[in-house]
Symmetry: C4
């Protein structure tokens, strides 16, 4: 106390936590994993599995969106990317996949100078809708005004508007920023907005009337935002803070606006930790790019929301590890948590006695640092 | 204070500690190691050394159980494993030991499809009892109801029922969970149950009337439970919390139910730390698999309580480092703490002035992180 | 509370933080980076970009000082170095650059035995002034009295007096220390003094009437001061403490004396963090030695304030990575934060809604440790 | 508060700190290093430099003891080692130095079975006294009663009695422990006793009337005590706690009993940190074994206080880096802090404005973890 008062003239720093620094405590009651319910909702749409894709060309095309929709998750199609620029995107994607490393940056730069075409934007949306699944699409802020009527007319269900940091109030002399409350009047569909990381920024975004918030800015120490700008909040703290905003907004208005933790995932268990910290769903990229059905053909590139300091187009080989169904629902013989993500979540919920995602938000968590030393003779003893 | 109130709308995280993060402080009084008493009790049975084995095929067979019993510890024979499936388990164990790495998984899968035989279950128990030592056996929850009458009739003394996370209340629509209070009426022997890690879960388990609790879920950052499910509590905190439950239950009822810390051990000193944190005994696996008399013949495999996400049967070469007696009681010239475990515990108790395990529970501990940098010129100076 | 009282007879340690341990939290309002203002002031001089150079021979010569001045920053010319010892310093610098590693120490020792010449001191100052930019020069304490009239007469604008640790009160029997208040009466120019790291030392220095304070002693665990003397404070805490002193002095006197964080920078984002912690500007060395225009020709050596325990002259190859303009203002395709430093600062300020450096001092920061584990399948997911 | 009360049924752990986790903060006043005084006292003896040797055969023989005494420090001759077992110890030491690694353990075992001879004990003491320096000798507890009259008669000045953990009250049925208060009546010289690490244990030891306390049990995470027994306290916390005991004892009795921090040193700056934490002197081993005059001839072995779990005699090559004078007083061109230890201490004292060791005890310290990441472009910037 005394020391706190004595130091009050100094800037105060709050401790924050990332995935690697926490763990979930099993509950006093346990429940059969089969009896858990992992539903989450955006507006009036309900999704049985709380997995949302990053809006990346290497992850989502029309087929992938339909497949994930049928499995119960939500794919977000990037309408600023290859799918909206080329009549035959598969051809371009195959070319990217077969181009040697030394030439791929030049190819990428060429590929993304082709303009976005409004007719393709409409076609993609209609193709997904025709399959009977919910269609979510992503637009960059600069083209939101122009393209959102097109996607609305084509029948898109959910709009995702994403940039590195999004606030409800943006100050600019040179252009008029997105005013979400205005946008919501013009566009007759739920909007997911992001990214943000703090209680107050998240609460302000929710008060504009949007239907979902993406959580995550510079989540890891190795993130570009953290390295270049010094900016970021580890994901457990960001999720806890935004979950508190969601709960406050729920108390205020009776409306429950889900938060989706986006980025910072290292291990399979991190999905469980995000949900225990308060996430209603998680947004995944590279893990899904490893699916047999992913359009990247074993490669992954692009940022969900690039900014000028970041050159676009670094292509990374992630390989193909299994079908999307196996990655999400198993069965698997891989024990690193990269497959059967939903099964792992159900098991963790079972061990915490949580029948629903919102009950899982109540699970106890501890701070449990990741650092361990290796012991030669004792290594097996810790394997459970 | 103020800051705590201000943040009370946010989920709170409690700091937890593992073995590597703490150390024991020597006492104001010291005592000769020879004068310390390391007894612990399960029901009416007293064991002079507080070492319990993991119920693993590579660690315990009838001979090992008799040997450890005579040395003063408690071996737990796994009656869901090779000993209960094969008339001549030594033959199978030798086959596993001589099979090349590439073929061993296939062999394991075959070995464990052979059914458990009730007559072998009875034979094993009788063989141990005939040698005059306490007989503890482990059953998986699914076969507990069927086999516990058999083991009781054969004369088993202690039953161990173990799964990754055990709670006193399990919810299931598809099957009726184990109700420990009912089981205790049917089975006339002390039951050790686990695993759990929290104060409340441990207290609830004790209130069912069981005679011992195994402590440990995902103790280390590299544990599968922690990586895949995000679940776990470092062992010092888990032990401190369950010890508090034991003490509370003791205050409430006058009954002292021991807790046994299971897993997470890296170094020999971790056994001392577990006891100082409140453990009445420790459960060891791979370290004992290195004994000359271990049935695994220098190999170790299997989990004490596998779950579906974990493929069974990874075989690890641990080697044979000495007799069981040397590992437990010395003498030894090895300084990494993997031998003379009980001698090390007695020495630590002596330095803390603790004449008994329960006095050792009162030893002061400090948080003392494991991270150190290496100093070229100074390295020797720290060697005591 | 109780525990604090109970331990009050023990020496208390305050937790301190370095760059790697903290991160900046985005604000509730965002602002266009183009609308941010990064001005800082020394005395009556205003600099549009808050970058000050270390006074090192490998970083600053007359041309570099003019160039940086025109770009908006402040170069500090070392008048104890090569520029003040040789008529034609470029010749010496080229010789250092082309000398093999094995011979360079001997060369360095020879180079720095040539005496400083008063006429060259004057010439260098006049050359910089002739170009119309602000001229800051550095003198070592021992020659301050002798040379400060010379530089004043030549028209220098700002004097930098720097040693490892500087206090307002130095006790010596053998020589009379610098009394800054006396010096200020004799020398008609703003003086920047350093280095210091604590609230009270900084406040005392400001009360002598000086115009700027350099912050930083042994900032990193690998610093020589820290390793040899055990001395140092991590830069975030040092900056926060000295910023509090500046604010206190401002409240007391109405005078705003800027603080300049010097040293400890690892990544580009650290500049943003220093400013968010309270710095008005940052002092950079090796990063600027990489500029095409740097006199070190791709090499870097020397300390801004060597002390006897440190042998002078270790030459390190840093390479040439781009023009000074590109390093400071971009554009860049390098994503490690070593280029476009001012652009990164503006972007960070934009994300925090800070229109000025002093508004950026109000940005929220969190403690967010740098340690992370690498996840094979999940690595891309964290890249934003 | 609330959370503390809520958790009071749980064992509490206090945070402790090692050398790598702290740093010294420069003072508001600075002082010329030449004007600092580093005296410390044992009984009525005053030593100008606060360096005590470990009582090891590889560090101290008669010549080394005389040399260190003349330089101002205090060597402790081990009278349980080679010097007291062999008429011509130099011969034995040379044999150890030239024996190959594979054969040295066998040699060591043979060397240390030769009995200690009372006449040699006396000879060694007399040889040191003849040179006119203070003579400190070390006896193991088991031979203290037998040999202390011999050393007293020969004129020894200071007796060191050391074991891993020493308490004022030792309980044993098999033998009667050392009662320091009784010993002090029999032996007419100051006694230094150790090792201990806690406030209460140190205070009890001081109350027996002894003249110095050695501080340090299992100081580092890699220490054998810590690894095998789980026992130990990092040295900064141990030193702070024992310094508080010294100050309390001083308040109670007016007697100032110095504490000597022994072990855990990694870097040269650690000596400065130990003193700032409250040490009156430091005990060094391997660093001094590197002196040209050390009897180990570039090798180092043995523990100052071995215990049964530790096999004696591991020989480590430490090399010979310079004269003892250079290691203690410089000058040096080595920047890792392994040379000019006293010069570094004086410089640190100067930066803290501390004229004496006891003033240095008042220096402010911060917790400043050792972990840093390496930055490619920024590495030079942190080098001061």
């Amino acid at each position: 106390m005394c020391s706190e008062k004595a130091t009050s003239k100094f800037k105060q720093l709050r401790r924050s936590y990332g995935f690697d620094e926490v763990a979930i405590v099993p509950g006093d009651i346990t429940i059969n994993p089969e009896q858990t319910n992992t539903d989450f909702q955006i507006g009036d749409f309900t999704f049985p599995i709380p997995i949302v894709t990053s809006a990346m060309d290497s992850v989502v095309d029309v087929n992938f969106a339909i497949l994930l929709g049928k499995l119960g998750g939500l794919a977000v199609l990037n309408l600023d990317g290859i799918q909206a620029r080329y009549e035959n995107p598969a051809e371009i994607l195959a070319e990217i996949a077969r181009t040697p490393d030394a030439e791929v940056t030049a190819l990428m730069q060429k590929v993304y100078t082709e303009p976005v075409k409004e007719n393709l934007v409409g076609d993609r949306v209609r193709a997904i809708k025709k399959a009977g699944v919910v269609c979510a699409i992503s637009l960059i802020p600069a083209s939101t005004k122009r393209l959102s009527p097109v996607v609305a007319e084509a029948g898109a269900d959910i709009l995702v508007v994403q940039s590195t940091v999004t606030s409800a109030r943006h100050i600019s002399r040179s252009y008029r920023g997105l005013i979400f409350s205005e946008m919501l009047k013009q566009i007759p569909m739920p909007i997911i907005v992001g990214n943000c990381v703090s209680y107050s920024a998240c609460l302000e975004l929710m008060r504009t009337g949007i239907s979902g918030v993406l959580v995550g800015v510079g989540p890891g120490a190795a993130c570009t935002s953290r390295q270049v700008l010094g900016l970021g909040v580890p994901q457990i703290t960001a999720t806890i803070d935004c979950a508190a905003a969601r709960d406050e907004y729920h108390r205020e208005t009776g409306k429950y606006v889900p938060i989706i933790t986006d980025g910072g995932f290292h291990k399979g268990g991190d999905v469980c930790k995000a949900v225990a910290a308060g996430a209603d769903a998680v947004m995944l990229g590279s893990n899904l790019a490893q699916a047999k059905e992913a359009p990247g053909l074993g490669y992954h590139w692009g940022m969900s929301h690039p900014h000028p300091a970041l050159p676009r187009g670094t292509r990374i080989k992630v390989g193909t590890t299994g079908t999307l169904e196996r990655i999400l629902l198993g069965p698997t013989s891989i024990t690193d948590g990269s497959q059967n993500l939903v099964g792992a979540l159900r098991t963790a919920m079972g061990f915490c006695g949580a029948a629903t995602i919102r009950e899982m938000h109540e699970a106890e968590m501890v701070i449990a640092p990741a650092i361990t030393t290796e012991g030669k003779y004792w290594q097996m003893a810790q394997r459970h």
